[in-house]
Every structure is written in structure tokens, then in C-alpha cells.
Amino acid sequence: MSDPTTPTGGRASPATAQASAGTSDEFLLNVGPQHPATHGVLRVVVTMDGEVVKDLQPHLGYVHRGLEKLFENRTYEQIIPFTDRTDYLSAIANNWAYVMAVEKLLGMEVPKKVEYIRVLMAELNRINSHLLWLAAYGLDMGAFTPFLYAFRDREEINTMIEEASGGRLTTNYFRIGGFIHDLPPAFFPRLKKFLGRFGRAVDELDTLLVENAIFVARTRGVGIISRERAISYGMSGPCLRASDAPLDLRREAPYSIYGSLEFEIPAGRNGDTWDRSWVRIEEMRQSLRILRQAMDGFPEGEHRVRAPRNIEPPAGEVYSAVEGPRGEVGFYVVSDGTRKPYRVKMRKPSFSNFSALPEIMRGLKIADLVAVMGSLDLVVPEIDR
């Protein structure tokens, strides 16, 4: 618990620590909120006995902006840009989950073309997010080259997304009912070129990092969580699939056109850190498959439905979730019939994934902390909202 009366709110004081630091060999180590490997403003206070982690206390709230309160005073359309900024690496997935929720409340069906564009964007976003995960994870583990290679590939995808939406990162692209503009004419030629090249790039990144002997030694057998415990912690996405649980919302609760697309759900066997990394590499390959199918089957049609000028859904509530790069991203929207929602609850995957960290880390060495935290692929603003 941070003590606001001390000038360094970031340092743990023994009086407020929950751990039993009474034994002479145990000590507390404060990691964060400013730390190169915490992927944002995460703070964990680790109770250690020598190098072994006995307990781990996360401290959150360092980027809590009070978004759910803010949403209650915004119209439904005004909320869309905020959804990008909770998990900025999967901005498209966040947009989609929210927009889908509002469309369900309105009883709005979108044209097939809109669904195809949404799938294309979402899968590009998935690859983008996994590339950044790989870059940052490599950097944490001491590998600089994957960082540069992954960012080079990210720039190609960013160009495609930027030409369509106007934004590289926080895209604010989806609208209730479709899109403002159709895809630009340069999109498909770029996508074709990208698809031709990226398969080899994934293999390259795979051999550079995930198949690298040092990486394997640091991650194999480290940070195991079983399938039952993972589901109990509400984990989803690659973190869950690594524990021998091929569960993906695109199969379990299909939305949009995923029911008609062919792709596999990669699942790890042991639930360790290496499996979580391997699952993400495989997902990039499966996303390429989905992109090809969506590109080949791309229909003609309208890129939007004419939505009413004022979005005023009838009173009701809905929960709508998509499979984002980190897991299940869901929006629970309660409408009271006015232009502003009554309540918006954001269900974010990193919140649940992170809650499993104390259990995973107990008994491991402190050097494994960075490996395990990186493999959970956390984005802190989505934990704090």
C-alpha cells in the first residue's frame, strides 16, 4: 500500500506490507512503478528469502483514470475513442467489443462487408500486438535484435491501418453501424505484399527469439499454471491456451464471420512461460490464414448502416466480448434509454491474467519475475482503467 505522506509513494514501508517479514532472512523488494521491464506503471512488492520469491503483492492504480465514471457522462459515440486508450495495443479489439455491444442494444445488423473489414483489421491488430509483445519481451530478456525486426514489421501494418483509419496506434476506427469511409484503394495491394512476406518474418522472429537456446533455458518449465487454476483465475487468451486449454472466444462464442473461417487454436502442453510465447507465435501464423481467407472472400456492399443521428438505445443491457490479443475483452453496457449509458463495465483480460501472478511466482527465483511478467503480456492501463 503506498503511503501518501512519504515523498516516495513508490517505496514499500514494512509497516504497510502485508507479508510476514519478521524472519531475519526475508526482505522486501519493490519493483516499479518505474522499471524498464514492467511494461507500464506496475508495482509489485516481492517478499524474498534469498533469491526465492515467497510472496508477491501487486499494487495497482498508478494509471487509474476513472474511465467507467467518465463514460456515464459521455454519449455512446463519444465513448469510442476512450476504448482505444485502455489497451492501446489492441485498440481495434476494444473498439469492436464496445461497438458490437451498442449495435446489439440497438438491434442493428451490419452489412457483410463491414464484418469482413472488421475481421481484417482485428487480425492485423492481433499480429501488431504480438509483434510488440515479442519486441518488448526480447528487450526484457536481453535480446535487442527482435525489437528492431519486430518494429520494422509493425511499421508495415501501421501504414495499412493508418491509411484506413487515420491513426497508427489509437485508431478510433470503428463506428456504430460500420465505418465512415470504405477501405482505401491501396489497402489490398499492401495487404497482399505483406501476406507474401510476413510468413518468413514470423519464422525469422521464431528462430531469433523463441527457439533461441538461452530463451528456452530461461522459460521452459518456468511459471507453470494448470488449466483448472488458470480458468479459476479468469485467465484468457494465450495465457490460458498455453495451459492445454484450446479455448478461444472465436470458437467458443463466435461473433461476426469467425464461424465460417478456418483456423486452428494453438494450445501449449505444460502451461509454462515458453508455451505462452510459442502460442503467440503460432497465433500470428493463424492470423495470416484468416487474413488470406478474408481477403479472398471480400464481398461488395455498403461499408456502413445509416445509424440514427442520436444513438439512444432502448433500456436494456448487454455483454459483448471479442477475443483480443490478450484474451477476452468484454463490455457490459447498461442502457437507460437516454443518450448516455447508465453503466459501462469493461472486462479486461490483463486484469484477470495479472491476478494469477502471485500464485505463479511463489517459489520461483527473482530472475524469473521478468520472464513470467513478460509472458503474461500485460498492458497496465487496461488493468487500472
Binding site: 492504480g61 459521455r74 480458468i231 462464442a253 432502448p314
Partner: protein, 157 residues
């Protein structure tokens, strides 16, 4: 593996008050707060709703109540259910389910600090997201804070 009709029948037999909300196809099961743990245990063990998707609250100031909402999903049957009930707005107490679903530990901490509830039996009822010096319960409808200038209202469409 039971199919969805079986699951729904089992739910209806055990939960007398089942509401179907418009729009969201998941049935809402209304329970008494004291029976919450028993019902969630039934859903988890008998009907394999292992995944607690989220739990949150809604502020109902008109009735001076807080409405608790839980959503569960079953990977086996691919069904969702929601469980809901109301507690008084002042000094509301809800039994914890953090030992049944480990994810509830953090969800309950967050709901407690944002709405002003107590989850009895919670292993670690500290603040999660809010700074320590913030007073009040932010997600209640009557919450104001000196640091919170309201967005200027724009009346044109």
C-alpha cells in the same frame, strides 16, 4: 456432455426466479444474497460454469440499493448466465466467492471500493485501484470530487 436444453432445465429447476432480459440472451438468475455461494457452487460444479467472466455492481439510488451482477460462462456448454441480487446501499454486505472463483478476489476488491460494499470473508479487503486519500465511492451516482470538473454540456445535436 449435456446440451443447452438440459442445462437450462437444470437451471430452472433449481432457481425459481429466472428473468430473461431483453437483448442479452443469457438468463438472469435472481438469488438471495445469503444463498449466493450455494447457488454459484451449484452452477460451477454441477453445470460446469467454471469461468466467472466478471462481477460488478449497479447503483440504484432511487430504491436506495446496489444491484450486484455476476456473469458466468461455461466452456463445456458454451452458455452464459448472469446472477443478480440487490443489497441495501448503506452498509451492504455480500458473501465473498473468492475461494470458489479465484478471479473474484480482485473483482470484489474493485467493486467494494468503487461502490462502498463489504464482501464478508474476503481474504484481503484492501483498496485496489483508488488512491488512499480518495474519499467517497466513485461509481455511485451522487459522487462528486473537487478534482472533477464536469464536461461542459453541448445542447446542439
Amino acid at each position: 456432455m449435456r446440451d443447452t436444453a438440459d442445462i437450462l432445465a437444470a437451471i430452472r429447476s433449481r432457481f425459481p426466479r429466472v428473468e430473461n432480459r431483453p437483448v442479452d440472451p443469457a438468463p438472469s438468475l435472481v438469488v438471495e444474497p445469503e444463498k449466493l455461494r450455494e447457488h454459484l457452487l451449484f452452477l460451477r460444479d454441477q453445470l460446469s460454469f467454471h469461468h466467472l467472466v466478471f462481477l460488478t455492481a449497479l447503483d440504484r439510488p432511487a430504491e436506495s440499493e446496489l444491484e450486484l451482477v455476476y456473469r458466468l460462462f461455461s466452456y463445456e456448454s458454451r452458455l452464459s448466465v448472469m446472477v443478480r441480487f440487490r443489497v441495501p446501499r448503506d452498509a451492504g454486505r455480500v458473501p465473498t466467492v473468492s475461494d470458489l472463483f479465484r478471479t473474484a478476489e480482485w473483482h470484489e476488491r474493485e467493486t467494494a471500493e468503487l461502490f462502498g460494499l463489504e464482501f464478508t470473508g474476503h481474504p484481503d479487503p484492501r483498496r485496489l485501484l483508488l488512491p488512499d486519500d480518495l474519499e467517497g465511492y466513485p461509481l455511485r451516482k451522487d459522487f462528486t470530487h473537487p478534482n472533477m470538473p464536469r464536461l461542459p454540456e453541448v445542447t446542439s445535436t
